[in-house]
């Protein structure tokens, strides 16, 4: 037990999105919902990092600098966050047909579209939560829908976890995400709580 069907997944995800829309949490469907496991819900979070060595090094020399483009323009306000590097965390909740559970894919990338290796995030301690991540469940794999590399938390433990909460949970996506999410910086708003409690 602890498993759900694709249709159930879609229904649970939809009620999850309803709450997200109410609180402007930013989750949205992507992909083709008519196809088994062909759609997922996604969210992006922008995060400011202090510049770090572990992040992609900047070019030391700049043979391309083009001063001719520097038309006198004194209408540019000074950047407030110039010393900060921005990272985007992208979270996808998919359905795993083989495990019949939700599965979490994620990536972290800088503003030039370069994926940040997990190791450097881990070392930098930018996401403190990463340190107590259940490493055994983490791996990198091609995204089943997008066909690009993503990190993902292996669903091998998910059914077990959902089984534990069965009866108390009316939306397994919420139960599971509130347990797995914090490890990768994804904290659910308390507003989602009513999705798992309203049966009482």
């Amino acid at each position: 037990m602890g498993t759900i069907s694709w249709d159930e997944f879609k229904a649970f995800a939809q009620s999850f999105l309803t709450v997200s829309d109410e609180i402007n949490d930013g989750w949205a469907w992507q992909g083709d919902q008519d196809q088994l496991a062909g759609a997922f819900i996604a969210k992006k979070i922008k995060q400011l990092l202090r510049k770090q060595r572990s992040l992609p090094a900047e070019d030391e020399t700049d043979p391309f600098e083009d001063t001719s483009c520097q038309t006198e323009d004194n209408h540019i306000a000074e950047e407030l966050n110039g010393s900060q590097q921005e990272c985007t965390w992208e979270y996808h909740i998919l359905y795993s047909p083989s495990y019949a559970t939700p599965v979490l894919f994620f990536n972290v990338f800088t503003s030039d579209g370069h994926l940040v290796p997990l190791e450097s995030l881990w070392k930098g301690g930018t996401q403190g939560a990463l340190q107590h991540l259940r490493w055994e469940a983490l791996s990198q794999q091609e995204h089943p829908v997008l066909r690009r590399p993503y990190y993902y938390l292996h669903p091998c433990k998910t059914a077990e976890l959902l089984n534990l909460h069965q009866g108390s949970s009316t939306n397994p996506i919420v139960t599971w995400l509130s347990s797995m999410g914090p490890a990768i910086g994804l904290h659910l708003d308390i507003a989602y709580g009513h999705l798992v409690q309203n049966q009482r």
């Binding site: 600098e65 306000a77 950047e79 407030l80 921005e86 290796p117 990198q140 690009r148 590399p149």
Partner: protein
């Protein structure tokens, strides 16, 4: 010109989603090919819940014909020019390119298009060059804006709540949210009437600002969705909006204009109005000459210079690099989670020489790759035969055709197919064997073979002996011993196996302590130490039965796995090849732990018996009369080199005389015969 009252704008900063590079590569390879095409591309930005710099995003949907409408995302119209070469990138005239884009934006302003579709004012240009073989991109965004009109601040930006009532602010937010057409959401006009905020489309600009007297538009605000989240400076879009005003209502120049920058913070448990962070200000346009309009907006790169940005996404896109990082990530996860002290680098940088590319060689090579070993060389003299592929995991039926491919070469090629990051090669070579006399005709070839093997052993860190005859292990054992390399041995019987590490000698003269509970690596024996017969031509002596004997198919997989794991345990021990082996298993657990490594004990040898499913881990001392590793033999090789080897090849008895084994020779029967073969070809020396 730079006085405090001059209005300044927060520039956009570009954000590229990884999917944009994937899509760009695909379009270049499949559609554009060698054309240097200009593509219309969508950008998106938002004035809702923004964090950090005001950013303009592109991703894979940028190439869609229709703008991908996501909640609160506003469209920006872009043009991308993708150049073919770095040279054309360097030599392209950026000023002319920008002027051309500017002319197009100006046309949209002048012909009224922007009044019907205000989103056309959010405009960018993107110049790219991608090296699709290296997965690197140069890219440069320009967020188009006219250099004039200059604008003076009359009333500095203030939070909306200091001027509007909270009812008005609330009304503003809900009115704005009710705008259905996404293209009308970025630029508009706001009027305050009582408690209400009313929104007018930009197309009303002429009728609203046609009055000659500023009092008549005092209740109106020229408004825009501001991608900037903090600070007093309004975002970049205002620049183009003021230019539109100057064009359509030139008489407003010098008069007071109210401006509203709409910034929304939508939070689940917010007590405040979502639009509370919005700004109000009053400005005054200075006269300018439209015919002399210049265009600006090139983005500074990460170092604050006017130049392209560079990104290397090979780690994300190059399949070979992805394979490498995935393999290493798997190992790192094991390290992080289970064995933080694990020294993966040593394992991965260990260069492994595999004598034999048969069942054992194939299994060992695959498992070494599993540990991330990057450097694997095969030595084998055989060709792939039809019986091989089912047992030898690196070969397929195809390899057997036309007489069969050389095994060493085929195995190396198979490794590269499995994992292109591996550094591997195959050397086809007959390993010279004691008791296999070298005639004059073979002298040169044998000499070359010995020289090649010497060089190979020199160039590797670990020598694996995985051949199917005892004799073929003699020379590699001697060479590994002489060059102080770690030698790993695996040999198979029908349902038995022997896996062992040879002692790694050092110049330490301390005699072994035969009463100690463990034996340091330097005093451990080799494969031949327990044998009291010199290797003769056992192939000739074998009965047909023995030559054709096959092993149980699983035996080689078990032994191959153990020999790799034993090597890894040796490498994880702080003393490496000198790691002590516990003499008796009965020794206390503490003893075992005190001499082991983080993976556990490091035995000398492992003997397994499938019939009884037993496994033993005996350790034995180096035998002072050993025909392969004793001091006498090593010294003889050191002083006479190939001449010594030739004497051994020509006569096995020579070794027995040298080491003093002759006297022992006939007294003992060697009960253990480990040299069974699963290959039917006699000349095929791999197991």
């Amino acid at each position: 010109m730079t006085d405090d009252s001059a209005l300044k704008y927060s520039p956009f900063s570009s954000h590229v989603d990884p999917s944009f590079w994937h899509k760009l590569s695909q379009i270049k390879l499949d559609i554009d090919k060698l054309d240097e095409k200009v593509h219309p591309v969508w950008g998106s930005y938002t004035n809702v819940n923004t964090v950090g710099l005001p950013s303009l995003h592109v991703d894979c949907t940028s190439y869609n014909s229709k703008f991908e409408e996501l909640r609160y995302q506003l469209p920006a119209f872009g043009c991308q020019l993708n150049l073919n070469t770095l040279e054309s990138y360097k030599s392209s005239d950026k000023t002319i390119l920008l002027e051309k884009q500017g002319a197009s934006l100006w046309a949209d302003i002048a012909n009224g298009s922007v009044l019907k579709n205000p989103a056309l004012l959010s405009r960018f240009f993107l110049l790219t060059f991608g090296d699709l073989k290296k997965y690197t991109f140069y890219y440069w965004f320009a967020f188009l804006a006219p250099s004039t009109p200059n604008v003076q601040i009359i009333k500095p930006p203030a939070l909306i709540s200091t001027i509007f009532s909270s009812a008005q602010v609330e009304s503003l937010q809900s009115e704005w949210s009710n705008i259905v057409d996404v293209y009308q959401r970025s630029y508009f006009i706001v009027k305050i009437q009582g408690d209400q905020a009313k929104i007018f489309p930009l197309s009303d600009i002429v009728s609203i600002f046609k009055a000659q007297c500023e009092e008549q538009w005092a209740e109106f605000y020229l408004a825009f969705a501001d991608p900037c989240s903090s600070g007093d400076a309004p975002g970049w879009p205002l620049r183009n909006l003021l230019c539109v005003l100057a064009h359509y209502c030139p008489h407003v120049v010098g008069k007071k204009i109210n401006v509203l920058s709409l910034r929304l913070v939508l939070k689940s448990h917010g007590q405040v109005n979502a639009a509370d962070k919005s700004l109000l200000m009053s400005v005054q346009l200075l006269p300018h000459n439209e015919t002399e309009l210049k265009w600006v907006g090139w983005e500074r790169n990460n170092r604050g210079k006017f130049g392209p940005r560079f990104v290397d996404v090979s780690g994300d896109m190059d399949p070979k690099k992805r394979a490498e990082s995935a393999v290493h990530l798997n190992l790192k996860l094991m390290k992080w989670r289970l064995l933080p002290e694990m020294d993966l680098d040593t394992v991965q940088n260990t260069r492994c020489l595999l004598m034999g590319a048969g069942t054992l060689g194939c299994t060992v090579a695959r498992l070494l790759m599993g540990w991330g070993v990057q450097h694997i060389t095969f030595v084998d003299n055989g060709t792939v035969s039809f019986s091989n592929p089912v047992r030898q995991s690196l070969f397929t039926f195809e390899d057997c055709l036309s007489g069969g491919r050389p095994k060493a070469e085929a195995a190396a090629e198979a490794l590269k197919l499995i994992f292109p990051g591996v550094i591997t090669s195959g050397v086809t070579l007959n390993i010279p064997m004691p008791g296999h006399p070298v005639g004059d005709s073979m002298l040169k070839e044998t000499q070359d073979a010995v020289a090649t093997l010497e060089k190979l052993v020199e160039d590797h860190d670990v020598v694996f002996m995985l051949t199917d005859s005892r004799e073929s292990r003699w020379l590699p054992t001697l060479l590994a011993g002489a060059k102080k390399k770690l030698a790993m041995n695996a040999a198979l019987g029908f349902d038995t196996y022997l896996v062992m590490r040879h002692g790694v000698f050092c110049d330490d003269e301390t005699p072994p302590d035969f009463n100690a509970r463990s034996i340091p690596g330097r005093h451990l024996g080799c494969y031949f130490c327990n044998d009291v017969t010199a290797p003769g031509n056992s192939m000739a002596d074998r009965t047909l039965d023995q030559q054709c004997t096959v092993t149980r198919p699983g035996v080689s997989a078990v032994a191959g796995a153990l020999v790799v794991e034993l090597m890894v345990s040796v490498l994880q021990h702080p003393s490496k090849g000198d790691a002590p082996a516990v003499l008796h298993k009965s020794t206390g657990k503490e003893d075992q732990e005190s001499v082991g490594c983080l993976l556990g004990t490091v035995p000398h040898s492992i003997r397994g018996f499938l019939a009884s499913w037993d496994q033993l881990t005996p350790a034995t001392h180096r035998f002072s009369n050993c025909i392969a590793c004793s001091e006498k033999v090593l010294k003889e090789y050191a002083s006479r080199g190939f001449d010594f080897i030739r004497d051994v090849l020509n006569s096995a008895v020579y070794l027995e005389d040298l080491t003093g084994l002759t006297s022992l020779h006939k007294e003992t029967e060697n009960a253990d015969v480990w040299e069974f073969s699963d290959s039917e070809e006699e000349e095929n020396n791999s197991e």
